[in-house]
Point group: C2
Chain length 474, copies 2
């Protein structure tokens, strides 16, 4: 599906488009190879095709103009935030323009009384939290990387806090979007709920740039809890850890984070992030609430863990302890890159009903071991979502084939358990065939919507839908 | 827009369609006037047009057949659950078939470990809660009426528990839908989150039957809290009650219900539901949690209320006290009908950012008073959503015109405050012009989706979209 740039036929009107773009944006238009490469390739396993041209937009008006120029000249548009997505979303398999919105990074309005905020799409989640620090509010969605909020909306991102606060699906209140015909629309609104017409906000969230370019995002905020405590607990058996998670969720304990890290990943963290955990399946947890509430939650989970063979339960409301724990969790990607220098990384992303989690994790770990695949495991297990961080030996095509087959089996196993091929990374280039396996004829309905809103397939073409059902571009 | 049945041109192939339907369904096809009338008119203010024919489906396979017959003969399809929606959703302004799914009322699968359930669309929310009583789980969405879950999904219903548990938007995990071309699709899945393609579930939720017929609904369930306590508190000034709500939400107190009832409505409840509240603006509240948690929440809210002039704060974990309180809240519709015998009812439904709630409520109450409009007020104020239950003098067209103008001003006021014309009742026939005022060009995008999925406009035609942008039916 990914055509090498050398063999791909050039876009016939590219030169005209670039001339107009330079007229509009001056030196914020780049065709230099390094800039193009950087905009087509993420840190994960997809090869990545560079776009033909990169532009840096600084306002919604500019995005409208850029989309109009591209529409007029039949140039594909690939929105770009921080380039931290996983499934090749920023790649340009059909060439075209990378629309970099990272300079649209203003927090436009903080409505503290209403617990919402309006941001430009290039604002990152950490920049937002830093901006609103003094309001007593925070934005909880935390996918690990310091991703842009426009990108997080586009991929329906979630991460460690989703078990309590939901994903981007639940936390985007409204969007401003430039559609394929250059129309500027507003979806949703600042009311907490609405029954006014089709839910275009939720349609755009997770549409991976294939329906339009997001130019503004309105997000829910939350009060910083009076007390936050972190906890950790080690288990000799995987099942004990997973059963602890299931019982915690079923008991309705409003846990804010509950992450599983397997023994292999703990070993790497110990060795490369200077930690000293028992090399066992471990849960990292966080509790939010009042002082009494946090204590009560921690004690309830400790009792559940103890019933399930959990040991070394430690909890602390000290900020340093907490930061250390979550830094370790977020260091996984970098620790693994350090442990396997020069290797690539393919993070799997299935999500299953929680009752099937232990079985799917156990079978998948056994499968990896049988096939000699290096794949430490971390998971947002409160949601039934886990990642096996498959390390990719460079230049070993036999191993790469084994990994592909392993990921296919993992996804088939998740689908058979009533789950999804992707909990939070999206379809992009990497999971098109799995989307069809998961959703069948629904994909035809998705594609009918795509054709209705983007009939010439200019918005991030080649993503989500297979080429054989996608109208040809030229 | 609503054409009287007598003047509407008959559907040319109706007879052929009815013959085929009788062949399929036997005596579950009715053209008797009483059945048609009952399926075209709800208890609220819209006049209601009877459909030409009513069918009672008992399975998904039958729904597929019915849709195929209607598609073949160009017969509009209006899905019908319990007929408790507000904005004329069940009316047949263009004639056609009412597809009654109330006999599709089986709970198909309770997945207690995963906190989800799969139901047919005719199961009502109370029937579901009764069915799962022994599992320790419950389904929280409570729009007042004992509506069908298919209908609640279609109108994106919510109600008193939404402030904590969300609306149908957050609680429908998956759907099975028969689309206009007779295709049976499944949207979503049982995983708690997914980034796999467009969010068709959220597109269907709130689409008011205009994109397909729902034949199966998968819903989130929640553990019944260890402790539930109800509370009430009276305020001399509206602002004090609203400020109590705002501070409670901002403090992150996980209140399960927080409902405002104004003095006029309290007076009616006292007189017709044999209650004995002070005739003041009153908050009804409910707290869910552990024993200690519920006590802590109630004490925190009591302190906030006291700071805002609230008196008579009473809370109780007794089931009888709680039931009495919520019965009173749900009795509003029937109490008002009793207080004004023979009058109609138009419940307004705006929802605004909470910081603007006091101002919008105050101005709207003053507006009603100025124009002699009887409109007691109840509200899901934790979400910024309130209803003025406008009582409609029978046969008084001058008063009816005043009410229309009043509702227009109310909605304009809500939109100017960043709110929505409908928090939970939907657009139907009644709010088409307001949808355009609220969403502007986005409505064109919604309509492009409607045309793509239902090109002949057979699915609940005349709802949501104005006739002048809707392709003509015949």
């Amino acid at each position: 599906m990914v055509t090498a740039l050398a063999t791909r036929s050039p876009l016939p009107k590219l030169g005209d488009a670039i001339a107009k773009l330079k007229n509009l944006l001056g030196d914020r238009v780049s065709t230099t190879p390094a800039v193009r490469e950087q905009h087509g390739k993420d840190v994960f396993h997809h090869a990545g095709e560079p776009p033909d041209v990169v532009v840096f937009a600084e306002s919604t008006d500019e995005v409208v103009e850029i989309v109009n120029i591209c529409a007029h000249h039949n140039i594909p548009i690939i929105p770009f935030g921080t380039g931290t997505s996983v499934e090749g979303h920023i790649s340009a398999p059909l060439g075209g323009l990378s629309l970099d919105v990272s300079r649209m990074n203003r927090v436009l309005r903080v409505n503290a009384d209403d617990l919402d905020v309006v941001v430009e799409p290039g604002v990152t989640r950490m920049a937002l939290n830093s901006h609103i620090r003094d309001t007593g509010l925070f934005f909880p969605i935390d996918p690990g990387a310091d991703a842009s909020l426009g990108g997080m909306a586009s991929t329906r991102a979630s991460g460690t806090n989703a078990v309590r606060y939901g994903t981007m699906r639940e936390n985007v209140l409204a969007l401003q979007v430039v559609t394929a015909d250059g129309r500027l629309i507003r979806t949703g609104g600042r009311a907490r709920k609405s029954a006014a017409g089709y839910d275009l906000t939720r349609l755009m969230v997770g549409s991976e740039g294939t329906l339009g370019v997001i130019t503004e995002v309105t997000l829910r905020l939350y009060g910083i809890p009076e007390k936050i405590a972190a906890a950790q607990c080690s288990f000799t058996a995987l099942a004990g850890a997973v059963d602890t998670v299931i019982s915690t969720i079923q008991a309705g304990i409003p846990i804010a984070r509950i992450e599983l890290i397997d023994d292999a990943q703990i070993d790497l963290l110990n060795r490369f992030a200077k930690l000293n955990f028992p090399i066992q399946t471990t849960l990292f947890m966080e509790f939010h609430g009042t002082e009494a509430g946090v204590r009560e939650q921690a004690e309830m989970v400790q009792a559940i863990a103890s019933d399930n063979g959990g040991g070394n339960f430690m909890w602390s409301a000290q900020a340093e302890e907490r930061t250390k724990l979550w830094q370790a969790r977020h260091d996984v990607v970098w620790v693994n890159k350090q442990a396997y220098p020069g290797w690539g990384m393919l993070p799997t992303d299935v999500c299953v009903p929680i009752s099937r989690l232990a079985e799917v994790v156990r079978e998948s770990k056994a499968d990896a071991e049988t096939h000699g695949i290096v794949a430490p495991l971390v998971g947002h297990v409160g949601d039934g979502n886990f990642h096996m961080v498959v390390m990719m030996k460079p230049g070993d095509t036999g191993y790469a084939r084994e990994v592909d087959a392993f990921n296919d089996r993992l996804i088939d196993r998740a689908l058979a358990a009533g789950g999804t091929c992707t909990g939070e990374h999206g379809i992009g280039l990497g999971k098109i065939k799995h989307l069809y396996a998961e959703h069948g004829e629904s994909v035809e309905v998705m594609h009918a919507i795509k054709r209705a809103l983007d009939p010439r397939n200019l918005m991030n073409p080649g993503k989500i839908f297979a080429p054989d059902v996608t109208p040809s571009l030229h």
